[in-house]
């Protein structure tokens, strides 16, 4: 047993190294970081975190990010649910092509759309709003959510739908009371991926916001001052950025395994 666990332990330690370094740095002073190599913080400080939680420009970055990411997740999953249902249940002209086209949207680099989105959203008075970023991120999140949900829905036999109709369920009632509870794992996985991709996406979020909806990623680029970069502060901000993702992963960890088992994700 010991022999077998050595390699995974080494692998995980290797993966965790940069994260450890980030967390360790966040508890150091900028001077210590710049002065040389140290494995542990020599002078342990919480000043970096205090700075973030007391400065509105800092913590509003987080709040803004969480707001548009949540909006995007809800929007993407709600749009993807009916689409995925149609793909999993009906055959129509060009259904496979349409499905593939949806997936190709996922492959489109965000940079390509930055400029047209900026133009479009500015003219629609959407610039620097949460909705702007949330909508822009649906570009790659809706196809992903459709793809994941379709896989989960396909595993539910069509006979379940028929049984529900025979029992008297109307379509909306069937969808909410019977169908959704049976694919809730899929909804969890889809929501998780939407959350993650929206959370880490920076280019569109930065381009489409100025002040009101500025994401944390944009705030972090402004730590440069006359005294140079405030590395400790930056590391603390980075550490805090990891936390929401870690929390979400904790909640959906079992579902993700099921998603993998079903050939999607």
């Amino acid at each position: 047993m010991k022999k077998r666990s050595i390699i995974p332990i080494l692998y995980i330690a290797f993966l965790m190294l940069p994260i450890y370094w980030l967390v360790a740095m966040s508890f150091k002073t900028t001077n210590e970081i710049l002065s040389g190599f140290s494995l542990f913080p020599q002078t342990f400080t919480l000043a970096n975190y205090v700075a973030i939680f007391t400065d509105p420009t800092w913590y509003w970055g987080y709040i803004n990010s969480i707001i548009y990411v949540t909006m995007n997740t809800v929007l993407s999953v709600c749009v993807a649910l009916p689409a995925a249902y149609a793909f999993s249940r009906y055959r129509f002209l060009g259904d496979k092509q349409l499905f593939f086209w949806l997936l190709t949207n996922r492959m489109a680099p965000a940079a390509v759309f930055a400029l047209p989105f900026f133009q479009l959203y500015s003219s629609m008075q959407l610039f620097d709003t949460y909705l702007a970023v949330a909508l822009a991120h649906t570009l790659f999140n809706v196809p992903l959510a459709v793809w994941i949900l379709e896989g989960f829905m396909r595993s539910i036999p069509k006979e379940l739908d028929e049984t529900a109709y025979v029992d008297g369920y109307s379509f909306p009632r069937f969808f909410v009371k019977i169908f959704l509870p049976n694919i809730k794992a899929g909804v969890g996985v889809a929501a998780f991926f939407c959350f993650m991709f929206s959370w880490v996406e920076m280019l569109l979020a930065k381009t489409l916001t100025a002040v009101e909806a500025k994401p944390i990623a944009a705030v972090m680029t402004r730590t440069a001052s006359s005294a140079g970069y405030e590395l400790g502060l930056l590391a603390a901000a980075g550490t805090l950025t990891i936390i929401p993702g870690a929390i979400v992963i904790w909640f959906v960890r079992n579902y993700i395994a099921r998603g993998f088992a079903m050939g999607r994700v």
Binding site: P157, E162, T163, Y165, V166, D167, G168, Y169, I178, N182
Partner: protein, 352 residues
Amino acid sequence: MIELQDAVKQVGNVTHIKPTTLTLQAGHFNVLLGATGSGKTSLIKLMAGLDPIAQGRVLMDGQDVTRLNTQKRNISLVHQFFVNYPHMSVFENIASPLRVAGMVESEVQGRVEEAADLLQLRPMLGRRPHELSGGQQQRTALARAIAKESRAVFLDEPLANLDYKLREELREQLPDLFAGRGAVVVYATSEPEEALLLGGHTALMEDGRVTQFGPTADIYRNPENIAAARVFSDPPINLAKITISSAQAQLAGGGSWAVFDATHLPDGEYTVAVRPHRVTPFRTSEADVELTGRVIVTELSGSDSSAHFQHGDDAWVSLATGVHPYQVGEDHSFYMNPAHCRYFGQDGKRVV
């Protein structure tokens, strides 16, 4: 009562159900008997309103339901695969159609418990479907159909996925479960034996059409065409080419007899059909025709023995009670009473 009037089901260019007219009554089982792919499920879905009807009409108790949604037809359906709501307990599963209909809770409770008692599900009411055996899962689906007290119950090969013992057990129970409920019971199966055991009426299905419909025993005794005779026989019915001249039948491989009541039959080629159990290794009457043939395969099942033998160009099957000492590869004599023969013309239709 369910009436189909020239009902047609089409998907794209493929016709799944050819124009079908059929009247199914309550009070007894209506069995749809046919091989896999003969259109039994298609016909059920058509009656249930799950698939759109291309032409014709469907009536339930005289009311035209052709354009009525499944939800409003007040029917029940049990699939071949055990379909229950996985996220609900057995109780919730049985109660679900009642709850949807907005029934008061006290009555829901009573109906569910009554159905659960009938199907011996009382101890499982609190469990989830996936915690039950296959037989219990299917009984849950049946209980849901019974508790609903709908005017039509469609059972689409409900026993096909159960093991032999459970199947027998449940099959025995089925007629009692639905007796006196006033619902039209439609039961699809591919096994002739089930049709005979369940009684009532049988509709023989082949290639998307009902080839014959009537009381099960009548259909068994008097198949209208070769297809019907073939569908309703297990082991397969013996079919052999004969020539009839002056009301005298002649088998190609030897053996001849007088065809009863066939004086008007024009001379020519015909097909004779005899059920395997009417071909025995011993004489059953004076009129018996002797067939001699080489035994190819023998089987023993319980106290029955069957023999496949070659007679002329035709392969015959004999099924007789008792254990008979056949020697594979040797010639044996078999006897057939011409009174049990059915004759079909070149077009496959029954003559005489």
